[in-house]
Symmetry: C2
Subunit: 124 residues, 2 copies
């Protein structure tokens, strides 16, 4: 496996350590919110995640998981004694606290979509 450092995101992490941007940088990513959501109720295998996230490729899933791991919100565990071997992903302690933040975002998003919902459906 490649070094975790290879998966560290490149966009300027020099944002003067602004906490808001730091948080957003962790969540940022096409599939990360969904992944975090899937892991909320306990560890999941790579294949389980891939099945749950309709449309994601193995490559994409790997990258997103590695970035989450590099950011310390996801923990990766390999069970080599089994064949075929099993790889499980779980939320770290920091990851679990992140779920609360995502809930806040969801709550706001629900209200936001409700307010604009009628407009949106009219468009397409």
């Amino acid at each position: 496996m490649k070094s975790l450092a290879d998966y560290e995101q490149k966009f300027d992490r020099l944002h003067e350590d602004c906490p808001v941007r730091a948080a957003l940088d962790v969540i940022r990513g096409r599939w990360k919110p969904s992944i975090l959501y899937e892991l909320k109720d306990g560890p999941r295998r790579f294949s389980q995640l891939q099945a749950a996230l309709a449309g994601i490729t193995a490559q994409a899933l790997t990258v997103q998981l590695r970035q989450l791991e590099a950011d310390g919100v996801v923990v990766r565990t390999v069970h080599p004694e089994e064949t075929p071997f099993r790889v499980e992903y779980a939320l770290s302690e920091a990851g679990k606290t992140l779920s609360g933040v995502l809930d806040q975002l969801e709550t706001w998003g629900v209200g936001y979509l409700a307010r604009r919902g009628t407009r949106r459906t009219r468009v397409a």
Copy 2:
């Protein structure tokens, strides 16, 4: 002025109306959290924002503000009677509720940076 629709962001807004992604899409942007923060305490002029956000160009500020306006979280008001005329930006009702979400992100980010802080300074 261009139509607000021209500033609607293009990334697939079709994400099945996931509230979390909807919320993140609104916040997403290099300067948007900072802009929202600056507007938290009341309306600000274009030039005030530009001065507060060290390093931003007028063009970048314009685009970010227009996107926030298109998303309904910022309201733009022109005062043409004055010369030089004045343009003010303020949070909409939806924008004000967004501030709470940003506070959550900040709180989490503070703890996150504190946990990793020591590691980070060692790096560079």
